[in-house]
């Protein structure tokens, strides 16, 4: 059993907007082990991005990480740390890359200097030395002609190259954890695969654990070791990749897997889609957030949120169907189209 390097317990994040308190993340708990890649999957608005940002406390006003939330990195509680204490961890121990590298790179600063930034901050390197190191890092993430590229501005890069630069920037200090917030969403499909491969290589070479935030199960299939499925600000099911893909237990996970287009689908079948809209997180439902859209809804689903039912070691799901009193549902056939 590998050591847990990140333990998130009962994470609650809210945003106080003029329309009311948006409870974006409600009681999320998960662990991350060394060198592991955990994928957090969910549709937009499920709270997955907020969860990712909350790990390094990049939640700004009007958002707040609520009291009682615990984020333990190597046994150290991050939830109580102030900005300056967090600063020492950000970019050196835990790094983050964002969805759109064009908007995530400072448009007025040369790429080389941006990559060098973390080195200057955390390793107290001189400017010149850091810049040379940055060039090396750009070469490491397979950016061709890194000496010239380091002296260019982000808008002179293509989308894929920008994301590589972003990754170089995040990994330059060899962090223990990399949080990747939808790293491939803004890219073309062919480039997506390259970036996923690059992330995997980096994970191997630098022994970095990755928290991958995505809505794309294709990305997950390629890279993740474990998967957490988020819906309505909660993790509804989590487990090893194989378990989630082959023995999913939550109706939302079924629906999610069903909506992935497949090549062997008979041509007459229409693409499966989950009907309805995600819940309103200003007035979150009392019961299971997925209940209104769930085909297997029980009466209790409308009233009470189930606790996590363990399936096997490391795989659990929050669904009343797993209760012994619930009717048995055979859904597995539905998946094997």
């Amino acid at each position: 059993m590998m050591e847990k390097i990140l333990e998130v317990k009962d994470l609650n994040v809210s945003f106080n907007t003029y329309a009311g308190e948006v409870q974006a993340v409600r009681g999320v708990s998960f662990d991350l082990k060394q060198k592991e890649c955990l994928a957090i999957v969910g549709e937009s608005g499920s709270g997955k991005s907020v969860t990712a940002k909350a790990i390094i406390k990049l939640i700004h006003d009007p958002g707040v990480i609520k009291k009682g939330s615990s984020i333990k990195y190597l046994g150290e509680e991050l939830a109580n740390k102030n900005f300056d204490q967090m600063r020492k961890i950000r970019g050196s121990e835990i790094s983050m890359i964002f969805q759109d590298a064009l908007t995530s790179l400072n448009p007025t600063k040369k790429v080389g200097h941006q990559v060098a930034q973390s080195l200057i901050i955390h390793q107290k390197m001189g400017k010149r030395e850091a810049f040379d190191k940055a060039v090396e890092m750009l070469r490491f993430v397979k950016i061709p002609n890194p000496e010239r590229r380091a002296n260019q501005y982000p808008h002179e890069f293509s989308g894929g190259m920008r994301q590589r630069a972003m990754i170089a920037m995040a990994l330059v200090n060899k962090p223990n954890i990399l949080i990747a917030d939808e790293p491939t969403t803004a890219l073309d499909v062919t480039i997506q695969a390259q970036i996923i491969d690059l992330l995997k290589d980096m994970q191997e070479e630098l022994n970095t654990a990755i928290v991958m935030i995505t809505h794309d199960l294709g990305v997950v299939a390629g890279s993740a070791d474990r998967i957490a499925v988020m819906y309505g600000g909660m993790i509804v099911e989590q487990g090893p990749k194989k378990e989630i893909f082959y023995r999913p237990k939550h109706p939302y996970t079924w629906a999610l897997l069903n909506s992935v287009p497949r090549l062997n689908t008979k041509s007459k079948e229409t693409l499966y889609s989950i009907k309805g809209t995600p819940p309103d997180l200003i007035q979150p439902p009392l019961g299971c957030p997925f209940a209104p859209r769930c085909e297997f809804r029980l009466n209790i689903c409308n009233e009470k949120m189930p606790t996590a039912y363990p399936i096997i070691e490391g795989h659990d799901a929050k669904c009343w169907l797993l209760d012994e009193r619930a009717p048995k549902v055979k859904v597995f056939e539905r998946l094997e189209v």
Binding site: G276, P279, P292, L298, N299, N302
Partner: protein, 310 residues
């Protein structure tokens, strides 16, 4: 469901929900259309509503105020020259013995008419010009924008002065002079918005479906710039009132015996050392009106474009 029911059926909780209406959106907040939502947001904005109420009161007074004082705004009285406020003359009298209360509301009428009509003219002109330029793009756009650039490179106030020198004095001429430069900003903004909207997928889609330019403008562009237009009109009013006051100040505004707040300020300013009250009332009125229009404009912008709200 009642508790009784729950008890009778032992396993009720774990039966399938018989209400098969899936994806019940009913439990979420009622969805409102754009304008309802905007109105709901506006109603919540106490400051904007307050400003609106004050404006309605001021407009009401400019219509009925002159008749409640019992004085005509042109009636001079040599015995009552430069008298401070009293029971007879609530705002005092000016150097010709005219009742300042009456004049303040008559002047307000002129100021507000110039402000509102001017703003509407500005926005309509800007909308047409910017809309045409942005929609057709290419060479038409280049030429139209070059014209605007040249017109825009003469400072607005100077352009206004030059135009009002040519035209015969009077309120319509004033509006023409004031709007000659004011629509440029609107036109630029509308053009920018139209250019942006043109690239949006829903416009491309309807164009691909063979919609005529006119119907695209009507169906897609106008509704999308509507909120911008409403906000622009509101916030243009004070700047037009200011420009009118500026013209009155240098003697190119409305001519006596007619008056405006700007003209009254100019007259009051000349006697500030001796009769400060002559300046105070028109000053307060013009400032309050401009403030209210600005507050209302801000409120409208927040309500109509939640993205802009911070």
């Amino acid at each position: 469901m009642s508790t009784v029911e729950k008890n009778t059926s032992k396993n009720f909780d774990f039966e399938f929900d018989s209400n098969k209406s899936l994806y019940a959106d009913g439990i979420v907040r009622p969805s409102l259309n754009y304008w309802q939502d905007a109105f709901r947001r506006l109603k919540k904005n106490k400051v904007a509503i307050g400003a609106g109420i004050i404006l309605i009161f001021i407009i009401f007074m400019t219509i009925f105020g002159p008749s409640i004082s019992g004085h005509s705004f042109t009636q001079m009285n040599r015995q009552m020259v430069n008298k401070p406020p009293s029971a007879e003359h609530w705002f005092g009298t000016d150097r010709m013995g005219r009742d300042l209360f009456t004049r303040a509301w008559v002047g307000g009428r002129v100021s507000i008419i110039i402000g509102v009509v001017g703003a509407i003219v500005n926005v309509v002109l800007g909308l047409i010009y910017g809309g045409v330029s942005g929609f057709f793009g290419g060479r038409v756009d280049t030429i139209m924008m070059r014209c605007i650039e040249i017109l825009g490179s003469i400072p607005k106030m100077i352009l206004i002065i030059l135009i009002s020198l040519i035209l015969k004095p009077g309120i319509p001429s004033l509006i023409v002079a004031l709007t000659i430069a004011g629509w440029i900003g609107t036109a630029r903004m509308v053009r920018g918005q139209v250019l942006q909207l043109k690239e949006m997928d829903f416009v491309t889609a309807s164009r691909a479906l063979g919609a005529s330019p006119f119907s695209i403008i009507k169906e897609h562009l106008v509704p999308n710039v509507m909120s911008t237009i409403i906000v622009l009109t509101t916030i243009q009013v004070p700047s037009l009132m200011f420009a009118e006051a500026f013209l009155s100040f240098i003697g190119l505004g409305v001519s006596s015996p007619n008056t405006s707040w700007g003209a009254m300020c100019a007259e009051g300013q000349q006697v500030i050392l001796f009769y400060p009250y002559q300046l105070i009332f028109p000053t307060i009125l013009i400032s309050l009106t401009m403030l209210c229009f600005n507050l209302l404009g801000d409120g409208l912008r927040d309500a109509l474009d939640p993205k802009l709200r911070r």
